[in-house]
Symmetry: C2
């Protein structure tokens, strides 16, 4: 069976049951029901609870057996000692996907917990059930309209091409909140928790095949199947970019990581070099992870590392130049024709090589000439444009945004925009740019760093193709 078919019941269930559905609004078993209600899945939702007849407006069932119709996925929110029998019920009911929210297994460090988890795996494997968890917040599949998590808010994520897999529910929330604020399109978000019979390697293989996922972002603390993970990642990276944040890099946090999801954090430099060999982009910051995933999901692949920086104002352009250099990008040296075109329209008082200072560009004609020249420049592979809120050019910004959208589409060169402004002032422009596949960042450094990841992946890919 293909991995897509194998995980179909988990990610595209025709019916979802929740064992441990609760009336207490602060309990996970209640929040999961609300999340499912927020979902737009096609099949029905069955809260299982023997003591009440209705829950948040839904009819409840006393047991899994009493629920009618096709159920593919079951969410289990029970105390640890009751999980195994519930899983057995799932098996008998022919359910092939389970999400086990409950914690207190391998990560507890106690022998009981480890034994229970081994037992859980045995039951699951006997019935062919695939499990996300235990010790997870759950999972979201926007393309199925499915919010199978204890966070109802996640239903407001936007559908799109970025998948995020994590060992930590907290980091899923972190990433998701950034995505909500930023409008980044998400395919699937899941926390693998203790990983019972679905490892990172399995999920990466799945996402590699998943037609709705273009970019795979991940947060990893420690994995047991390192070799499998790297071999799958290497394979998948030929088709789509992977970007990884390795947590638990320090000694102190390594101990904490074990108690978090029962994983050995391992040696960071080793991870780093293994990831590099597998062509997984690595980051050491959650903002960088998000920024990178965004650029990789929106931009075309650059054909080299030569960047042109254009700005309405010099300081941030210098900052972007430093940050670009730090990411292994080089400032493109414009062709003589490009330089001539710039010199013709820009004042010699300002920088008009690269970075280009557009302070003196007082009309749309000049902006247009500059951008046409730079986009068409044969020595430039990608662009970074800095558009800070500056009242003296407020009337022009709409035209500039349109121009950038047009040219980035005509030339197919990656472009990122740094829009420095109070948060709500450029919201409209920002949305318009991002809707047109131009990622927008609030600082020059973040824009440059994201472009760096883009180049790294593109160069790896062209290496692949030449092999």
């Amino acid at each position: 069976m293909s991995i897509l078919a194998e995980l179909e019941p988990l990610f595209y269930p025709r019916g979802v049951a929740i064992i441990g559905a609760s009336q207490d609004p602060r309990k996970f078993g209640h929040l999961c029901v609300r999340s499912l209600l927020n979902s737009e899945i096609e099949g029905p939702v069955y809260p299982i609870n023997p003591s009440v007849s209705h829950l948040v407006g839904l009819k409840t069932y006393p047991s899994l057996g009493a629920a009618p119709g096709q159920i593919d996925l079951c969410i289990i929110v029970l105390s640890p000692d009751r999980v195994l029998s519930a899983l057995e019920e799932c098996g008998n009911r022919g359910i092939k996907g389970a999400i086990i929210i409950t914690a207190g297994f391998r990560e507890s460090g106690a022998e009981t917990g480890s034994r229970l988890q081994r037992e859980m795996t045995r039951i699951a494997d006997r019935f062919g059930i695939k499990i996300i968890g235990p010790n997870t917040f759950g999972m979201v599949n926007l393309h199925a309209g499915l919010n199978a998590s204890f966070t109802p808010l996640f239903s407001s994520l936007k559908k799109g091409p970025v998948a995020f897999i994590s060992q930590s529910g907290g980091m899923c929330h972190n990433f998701s909140y950034m995505a909500m604020d930023d409008g980044l399109g998400i395919s699937k978000i899941m926390s693998l928790g203790n990983r019972c019979n679905l490892e990172f390697s399995d999920i990466i293989r799945y996402l590699g095949e998943d037609p709705q996922t273009d970019v795979i972002a991940m947060y990893v603390e420690g994995v047991e199947d390192g070799r499998a993970l790297l071999s799958v990642a290497r394979e998948v990276a030929r088709k789509k970019p992977l970007i990884a944040y390795k947590g638990a890099r320090s000694q102190a946090s390594g101990t904490a990581a074990f108690s978090h999801t029962g994983s050995l954090a391992g040696n960071y430099p080793l991870y780093q070099s293994a990831f590099r060999q597998a062509r997984v982009i690595t980051v050491t910051d959650s903002t960088a992870l998000f920024d990178g995933a965004k650029a990789l999901s929106l931009c075309p692949r650059p054909s080299g590392n030569r960047i042109a920086i254009c700005s309405i104002i010099a300081g941030p352009a210098i900052v972007a130049s430093d940050a670009s250099a730090g990411e292994g990008l080089v400032l493109s040296r414009f062709s003589p024709e490009t330089q001539e075109r710039l010199d013709r329209v820009l004042s010699p008082l300002f920088m008009n090589t690269n970075p280009v200072d557009l302070t003196s560009a007082q009309s749309m004609e000049i902006w247009s000439e500059v951008f046409h020249a730079v986009f068409s420049d044969g020595n430039t592979d990608l662009l970074l444009v800095i558009l800070p809120k500056q009242e003296f050019y407020d009337p022009m910004i709409g035209g500039i945004v349109d121009l950038l959208i047009e040219l980035s589409s005509v030339y197919g060169k990656p472009l990122s925009v740094c829009a420095t402004s109070p948060v709500n002032m450029f919201a409209g422009y920002k949305a318009r740019l991002q809707d047109n596949r131009i990622p927008v960042y609030p600082t020059p450094e973040r824009a440059a760093r994201a472009m760096g990841y883009l180049v790294r992946y593109a160069l790896w890919q062209s290496d692949n193709s030449s092999v």
Copy 2:
């Protein structure tokens, strides 16, 4: 004359004139008038323009000589060739402060520009005029209600203790927009531009004496008075923290920097070590500059580098641990008494050493006991608390915020909060925390990094005091 008295006309003018006031809403000469109108300065504003009688509702004057009353500060927005005679007029009128917005002097690279700037300095020195600029966006002094810049928006900055000085107007805007969004309190913001007779060293000396400034943040590309700067910085750093971002670190941007404000960017490692010797905190990112200035302005000084991390959720706590280690902080090892108190109330299923995972803390009593224990712990110098938006503890968050405010005030230990949430959901809590001198950050890494700067400064200070 003390530096405070010397720069009084610049920063606390009893009247402000603007030569080059314009009717064209896109011209700097117009925007500066609007900024002054947004100001709450006590003295009058005199737009100088011989061809119109009124401008944005203000009476204009044909010349500086025609304007009545006391004028201490003049903003000059003329073409380069007309600046010198205007400055001479200022001198004759007894004006002691000037802001020269006009560009096209030393930074132009042309001999004419350099000559004009030398001439400008001679005139200014003859009359005892202190100049900000040329080639600047201007300056803002919130404590005088003065917006002497071409950005009217800056009048909405909040008054407070952080000064920002920069070689770049763009980076001033960048910093200011962050401050507006975040509610950070600002004393003065200024771009020194080409620095005619006010160097970084002069302004730092001034801000060192300025009772309204507690923290000095700066963006520097290159300075001519390196020795003077470092000696002043070392002196001032005994009293208040300085945090610096050095731009133009790469070769490519160094060339650009010269054309920006006519400065030699110099060798970065040299700068770095010089700054360290002067006890200036250095950063390489504009977000870090802002985050650091915020923590330094809000928090008390920690007495050591031992940090306790408490979180509702494990992953971000592990990330914060890594980031703390990267900043030279160590996770505090709780005293046996503290550990006992935690073990009594927290489930052994989760991390309950340090970082502390509060997933199992289902009541305010437990939160209260945990925070009382950790705040009073003798081995803990500072705290980082992670409060992500999680629907299951929404009803408790208000109480937790109150508790943190109370305890941070009782124990006087620095505390930063990482509040991960969609941007507007925690706005109220965030404001309440920051109003109570607890800085809030959106990611664990940013919170930890800011705490790192706090510790660095505190340890330097205690070194000083022991000398």
